[in-house]
Amino acid sequence: SQQGEEDPQALSIQEGENATMNCSYKTSINNLQWYRQNSGRGLVHLILIRSNEREKHSGRLRVTLDTSKKSSSLLITASRAADTASYFCATDATGYGNNRLAFGKGNQVVVIP
């Protein structure tokens, strides 16, 4: 099954800095989504970008998608301590026929106050 791979796996930054993480995938997709998971909790949907979109914004989040390189990036601007979490990309692959999401391993971000 297709899975996204996030890069880098762990990131530690100072509050106020920007955090960028990348996700690569293997097959054609309908859309790609990013989720956040706080320690010991469930995942929360952040943003969705469709295969025909190249960039999307939501508050302090900016997502890009390059279908030719099969990769996506998530940028969090002006990070806050509350942004400390793991971030997962999830792909909705074409051809599945049932819209099942495949999750990557996650990217742990620590924002130091």
């Binding site: 099954s1 899975q3 309908n30 859309n31 989504q33 989720y35 010991g40 909790r41 469930g42 995942l43 929360v44 949907h45 969705l48 469709r50 793991s86 997962f88 999830a90 909705d92 049932n98 819209n99 099942r100 999401l101 495949a102 999750f103 990557g104 391993k105 996650g106 742990q108």
Partner: protein, 114 residues
């Protein structure tokens, strides 16, 4: 916060016990899922359901079983727990849509089998 609830949050049990992890959602979603997640690792789909009386096995083989008698309820059962079942179990739901679906997750059940 999503209206999807999992109980218990934490469970420590002995080998061989039968357990049921509860998951309920109040959003009227047709689709529900169970994922297994080890610390720092990706989520693995173990079961899913597209509606009442519909259940399917996911990508990761699991010794657990599920049922979907009511739209809002999707419990997961382990007949005989083993230490290898120690993990976090996440329940999720989504609307049935032709285009992109967004998942809503519960807070998870952390299971430890001694």
């Amino acid at each position: 916060e999503a209206d999807i609830y999992q109980t218990p949050r934490y469970l420590v049990i002995g080998t061989g016990k039968k357990i049921t992890l509860e998951c309920s959602q109040t959003m009227g979603h047709d689709k529900m899922y169970w994922y297994q997640q080890d610390p720092g690792m990706e989520l693995h789909l173990i079961h899913y359901s597209y509606g009442v009386n519909s259940t399917e096995k996911g990508d990761l083989s699991s010794e657990s079983t599920v049922s979907r008698i009511r739209t809002e309820h999707f419990p997961l059962t382990l007949e005989s727990a083993r230490p290898s079942h120690t993990s976090q179990y996440l329940c999720a739901s989504s609307e049935r849509r032709v285009d992109a679906e967004k998942l809503f997750f519960g807070s998870g059940t952390q299971l430890s089998v001694l």
